[in-house]
Symmetry: C2
Subunit: 337 residues, 2 copies
DNA sequence: CTGAAAGCGCTTACAG
DNA sequence: CTGAAAGCGCTTACAG
C-alpha cells in the first residue's frame, strides 16, 4: 500500500516538488495557477503529508508527550482529557503514556517520548532525579503536573497538598474523632509524601492520637486501599475515621467497609481524596478533598508552551479544599479546636 | 539542543555510519571490535535513535493508533489500559486519541493517525462509512473495538449487546416491573442502536409496557443520563425501574434519583451498564450488565497484529451478563415469565 | 513566483 | 565483516 507522495502531486499538477510543497504548506510565494493545480491534484490523489518526513526536516514534531501514572484512576483520566483538549488549541498532538504506577514503565515511556522527539513533555512523575536524568540531559522542554521530583528546576502545576488534609483532620477532630486511620500514598511520589506530612502535622495540632499503627502505606491503587482498610479496622484499638490519599484507594477502602457490614458515616467516618463524580453518589455521599483537575491540565499545557518558547515560567500551586458530605457527620458532642 | 546522531557515534567509534547502524540495530554481520566500539560510543554520547528518520526509511513506525470516544468514561479508560498493555507485548507504542464523543474530533484523529503513519489503528467509532472513508482508502490495518460501523469489512471485537439487556429486562419484569424507563445511547453508535433494539425486543416478550415515552435518548455522557432520569421520572405515569445504556449515563441518572429523594432499590429499581468498581460501592450496590473489558482490549490488539500480518481474522463477540445486586430486589409477588 | 539541489537521520542492497 | 552510496518524503535557502 504505497501511499501518495508530494512527488505524485507535483507531477499531476505539472509543477516542481518545491512549488507543490510551498502551496501545500501555505507559503505566500505561489501563483494562483500553481495553487489551483496543486490543490486539485492533492485532493484528487488523497495526498496526506508524511509526518515523519516533515518532522525530520523541520525541528518540531507538533507532538507533546504526556506520561501519567494510571489512566484507570479517574483523576488522571480527567487530567489526560484536560491536557489533550488544551494541547489541541496549540495544534499539538498528545502522545500518551501510561506508567501503571511503575517506575520501570515510566522510564521506558520517557525513553520512547525522547525517541519520538516530542516537542515537549508533561509528566506526573514518581521516583527521583535519576529517573529523570535522560529527560533532563536531552533538554526537552518539560513540565510536571500533580507530582514533582525534588531537586529539579522543572516548572510544575501541583495541588496544595496541605490545606485540604488540614481541613479534613480539623473537621474530623471537631466531630469528636480521636483515632483517624490514614491510608497513605507511596512515598516515592511527592503527593504521597506531602499529604502524609500534612496529615502528621495536622494531627500534632489536635488532641487526636498520633499512633504509627494508624498509618498504612498503599500504592495509590484500589487493592492497597482495601488492604489498608482491613489492616486499620483489625487494629486492637481501631480508628473511628478513615482518610485515604487518592480516589482509587478510597474506592478499595469503602468496599471493605461495606463488606465488613460497617455503615459509613455511622460506624466509621470517611474522607476520600479527589472529587470524582461517583463519590457523590455513594450513600452517604463521601466527604472529599477536592481540587480543580481541569485547571491543572490546562495550566500544565500553558506552562509547557512557555517553556517551549524559551521562557521560564513560575510554578503554580492550585488550591484544594474540603467538601463535607454525609460520610463525616458532625457529632453534636464534638470537641472544638 | 542539537541531539546526537549516528554520525557522531560512528565518528567516535572510528567506523562508518553503516557499521554503526548495523551494530545499533543488532545486525549479525558485525565484528566484536566494532560492536564494542560502537556500543561504548553510543552510551558515552547518550545516543538515542531518531524515530522519525528510522520510520522514514523503514516501512513501519512501530506505533498503533487508538481512537476512543471518551477517556473519562471508566469503561474506555480500562479499555485503553488493556490495549496499551497488550500493545507493549508486541513492542508497539500506542498513540492515543480521545474523540470526546464527537464525530468531528474523531475524524480529525483518524486523519492525524494516518499522517503519523501508524502501523495499525484500533477504534471504537461512531458514525457511518463516510467517516471512515479516508481510513479505508489508506488501507491502514484497522480493527474496531466495542463499536462497529456497518457496511464495512473491518474485523471487530464487540460485546454481545443482546443477552445482558435481555436478562435485565427479564429480571425486572420477573420482579413485577411493568414500566421500565430506558436511557438509550446515541443512535450514531452501534452499541447505542443494538442495545436499544435488544431492549425493545426483550420488552415484546413480556407483559411490560412498550411505551415510546419510556425511552430517552442520551449521548453516553453523564449529563444526558441526568436529563434522562429527570424526564422519565417526571412522566405522568413514571417508570418503576430504570436501565441506562452506559456507565456515565448511569452515574448521572443515579445522581438525579438521589437528588429527588428516591431510594434506589426501594422507590425505583436501577440497572447500570458496565461493571465499574464504584457501582458495587453505591448503597445499595447497582445491578449491572457486565462484560470483560480487559479481554476486549487484548483481543483487539491480537486481531490487529493479524491484520498487519496480512491475515483476515474472524470478528469476536464477547459475552455479557447480568450481575444482580441490591438496586433490583426481587419482589416476593413478582410475576414469572 | 519557481526549480534544482542539499539535507534532515537513518537503513540497506551492492560491492568488495 | 565493512564502507560508499542511494534513498525514505519532505522543506528551504539559493539563484534566477
Amino acid at each position: 500500500m504505497r501511499s501518495v507522495t508530494i512527488r505524485n502531486v507535483a507531477d499531476m499538477a505539472g509543477v516542481s516538488v518545491a512549488t507543490a510543497s510551498r502551496v501545500l504548506s501555505g507559503h505566500p510565494s505561489t501563483s494562483e495557477v500553481a495553487r489551483d493545480a496543486v490543490s486539485k491534484a492533492a485532493t484528487k490523489l488523497g495526498f496526506r503529508p508524511n509526518a515523519q518526513a516533515r518532522s525530520l526536516r523541520k525541528t518540531s514534531t507538533q507532538t507533546i508527550g504526556l506520561v501519567l501514572p494510571d489512566v484507570r484512576n479517574p483523576f488522571f483520566a480527567d487530567l489526560a482529557h484536560a491536557v489533550e483538549q488544551r494541547a489541541r488549541d496549540f495544534k499539538y498532538l498528545t502522545l500518551f503514556g501510561n506508567a501503571n504506577e511503575d517506575a520501570d514503565q515510566q522510564d521506558r515511556y520517557f525513553d520512547i517520548m525522547l525517541t519520538q522527539r516530542v516537542d515537549g513533555l508533561i509528566a506526573a512523575p514518581q521516583g527521583n532525579v535519576t529517573d529523570l536524568q535522560s529527560v533532563l540531559d536531552s533538554g526537552v522542554p518539560t513540565v510536571f503536573v500533580d507530582r514533582v521530583i525534588p531537586d529539579t528546576t522543572v516548572p510544575s502545576v501541583t495541588p496544595d497538598n496541605v490545606t485540604g488534609v488540614q481541613e479534613a483532620v480539623r473537621h474530623l477532630t471537631n466531630s469528636g474523632h480521636r483515632r483517624i486511620g490514614y491510608i497513605a500514598g507511596p512515598q516515592s511520589t511527592s503527593t504521597g509524601r506531602e499529604r502524609l506530612a500534612a496529615f502528621q502535622s495536622a494531627l500534632a495540632d489536635t488532641h487526636a492520637d498520633d499512633d504509627a499503627d494508624l498509618i498504612f502505606f498503599g500504592d495509590f491503587q484500589s487493592a492497597s486501599g482495601a488492604a489498608g482498610a482491613h489492616h486499620l479496622l483489625e487494629l486492637p484499638h481501631p480508628p473511628t475515621a478513615l482518610l485515604a490519599a487518592d480516589s482509587l484507594m478510597s474506592i478499595g477502602a469503602v468496599g471493605v467497609c461495606n463488606e465488613r457490614g460497617l455503615t459509613i458515616g455511622t460506624d466509621v467516618a470517611f474522607v476520600a481524596y479527589d472529587d470524582i463524580e461517583a463519590f457523590s453518589l455513594i450513600n452517604p455521599a463521601l466527604t472529599v478533598i477536592a481540587h480543580d483537575v481541569n485547571a491543572m491540565g490546562r495550566l500544565a499545557v500553558d506552562l509547557l508552551t512557555q517553556v517551549i518558547a524559551g521562557e521560564t515560567p513560575e510554578s503554580v500551586i492550585l488550591p484544594s479544599r474540603l467538601i463535607v458530605r454525609g460520610s463525616t457527620p458532625s457529632l453534636p458532642g464534638g470537641l472544638t479546636s
